[in-house]
């Protein structure tokens, strides 16, 4: 059986009158869309338009919940107690699910955003609160988390969820498997062939070369490309082209 991977992007991160990212272009390339749910970005109208466009393109739709922090775009850690966090995540999943259902679309997965994503990779109480919410929602949603961390994976297993390990085409890794801090030099890969090469190496070999030159093991079911950086769509297209040329089936998560 051949290699296979999902290609995902965070979309629907406009808000009110403000635009972000080139969703139309990125949705022509990826197989899964993580749609912001109004806490860190997105609003009901943006969510609706994003789901409609993803459905048109045959792109799988998942929720991209975050901390309640529009001003900080969900990138600032907010010390939310686990029970409140689980309720916040359920709220966001349900809000998107209803908007999707009115468009005839079922959600397939959940990928936490920003600081919440990062916390899920290091704080078991946070990862468990998210997993509990996803399990409470039901409907067989997969939980997406950092492939190189056991934290979210373990929380998913405890709650009987399918876990999809995620790798990044356009972000550099540290030797311990964490992502290089976004603010740092070289944290983001802007060169499409370089991003594509990193994606292919991850999918084919299960490895990536970290910033310090060491080799990190990465078993990923899904590869993230970004839509909010200049040239993002070009990177995404190159990643997909190179993967498919190498015989990798680029398909949404699921059986």
């Amino acid at each position: 059986m051949g290699l296979r991977v999902d290609l995902n992007a965070d979309v629907g991160e406009s808000f009110g009158p403000w635009r972000m990212g080139d969703d139309a272009s990125i949705l022509d390339v990826v197989t899964s869309a993580n749609v912001a749910c109004g806490f860190h970005a997105g609003d009901p109208s943006v969510m609706d338009a994003t789901v409609a466009r993803a459905a048109e393109r045959g792109v799988a739709v998942g929720a991209h919940p975050g901390y309640l922090d529009l001003r900080g775009f969900g990138r600032r850690v907010l010390a939310v107690p686990p029970d409140e966090l689980a309720a916040d995540v359920l709220y966001q999943l349900g809000a998107l699910a209803a908007i999707a259902r009115a468009r005839g679309v079922r959600l397939t997965h959940v990928k936490p955003h920003g600081a919440l994503y990062n916390q899920c990779a290091v704080e078991p109480t946070i990862a468990r609160a998210v997993a509990r919410a996803v399990a409470g929602f039901g409907d067989g949603l997969a939980l997406v988390g950092l492939a190189t961390s056991a934290c979210a994976r373990d929380a998913a297993r405890e709650h009987g969820l399918v876990f999809a390990g995620e790798a990044f085409a356009d972000r550099r890794y540290e030797g311990d498997g964490t992502l290089a801090a976004r603010a740092g030099k070289d944290a983001v890969i802007h060169d499409p062939p370089a991003a594509a090469a990193q994606a292919l190496r991850i999918v084919r070999d299960g490895r990536v070369t970290a910033r310090d030159g060491s080799i990190v093991t990465v078993r990923a079911e899904t590869v993230c490309v970004h839509g909010d950086t200049p040239g993002a769509a070009a990177i995404a297209r190159e990643v997909r082209r190179v993967l498919e040329e190498a015989g990798v089936a680029v398909r949404a998560l699921g059986p």
Copy 2:
């Protein structure tokens, strides 16, 4: 076949550290709870706690969506275009539905809040936007609206929804069937026996005496009692007692 009516109250209107209403007492009396969904009041934790308590008491749970206006408690008209409004309502329904589902509870109805409720009784474009959202959500939710107005009823019918006309035990009516403005003198009935008598007259005779002494026809499937005024629970108990004593079956909406 005997008379029957649902008794409903707006609950879950606390927010963050701030308490509102005596939900515990009111949920011991009513048969349906309209749970605020975070736009005008409520937050995910409050919603979760409210659904849990309603479920314990066997009270039917519905959504109570409002305008996005915490500061004004959804009582200030906000000129939301219909498409945005439909998306806002779907968002709120879905958010509550997910929190309820994680508690094993299915929503039964939707009752708009405050200024949105009032607009639904007079503005067909608003009523239709709400009805469209409820229809898009599916699941057979009933739409609750002012019994003395055709506006929401017509919108519900156009969208194939069950409509439940609502009357008020503790609010006075004007001669044209509208509710007396809350700010006005005598707008609210504080005396439990008076509220109970008005409720019984509505349920048994389909009539109420307006402030100007005229008789207004009111065909209601559900009667609202309030939970956010002092003595609200006492009024609700008296309404229920008097209705049951008169042989009226007090039961949630539905077949």
Copy 3:
């Protein structure tokens, strides 16, 4: 004594991670900046950066308060009672004034935003609430309002404020002196020479040709150019060039 006019633009309307407008370019052209105060757009960091840049360019800084509605960008009417509105406006003025003061900048004027601006031109209770707030703030701030309406002008006079009538270079007028609705065809002038010609005619002749061909009288102390439309800076530069070429002194409000 020669002709003189102020050239103003709305700036600082980015929010959190979201950019809006080309403030850097527009601040190179105008003499007064209306800085959003966080209710409809802007946040404390954006406000600070905007004030700093305006100060560098020698541009006068004023407040641009709006309704509390980020999602709707302050363009949706919100039925705020006058006393609350006055408090909301004071809040916004003070917030900007403190950020400006820490940069050594004093505010010179107040121009309401969006739906609030429009309401000030037609609703005396709204105009008075705003004028009361500006008067309460003190410091001799001028109130900017639609030149072709008496409503805001009267409210300013009642509260002892300097009023600055505003005309628009890039918006078409109706025969009754109101602005053409933004959604309508031809509401916005995209051609730089046409906008400049309209501005010059207003400043020199006190007149503008409305969409229906009639001539409207416009006595304006300040002319608005927009910064949030494509090509906005090019229009602003052409307006300024044409005005100065015709001998008009383009200078901030004040003695």
Copy 4:
């Protein structure tokens, strides 16, 4: 010269339709009021009403800025970068100052709220960001901070501010001078005579007995009493009575 101390309370923490605390009673007892500024609690109307009442009672008015987190009441740490935090604090100070100025009231001090207060006692970058904002605002405002920590005191000194060390009448201390965590047993003193005795001991002897029985040195210019707990006003009155009976002058900060 006799002993002297300021008695302060956090007030104006209602929001929109939700009430919190018994401000009217507490403002009859204290000499300084810390008024919430809309980020963690309070809104412009509440701020205005609170300032008006404080002014009537001759109570000094200060700002009580917090993290932007109504839902969490500013009690959850939010990782705001220092420059953004300084802008956020300036925004809140200015907003309150303008509302106060329209009432003829000048601010006298700033006391951070909740998680921000706690961070100021342990994180120099946070304390400095707050101190920088207070210094940028000017007007000689004193910065209030935990008396038993050098962190805020040092930041105030670096920025040329008057620092007022604060002690708590109704909170227990740990042996290291920190406050006992609010969630813990015995963290809050509910008995009026016990709170009054702790206040007097602090003011007269500069000492308090910690939970572990050790003696902690506390040099405080101001003592906090709470207004949001049941019986708060009774505690405040007893604290004031006992202090005055012991000959301590209870007066607002300042020369």
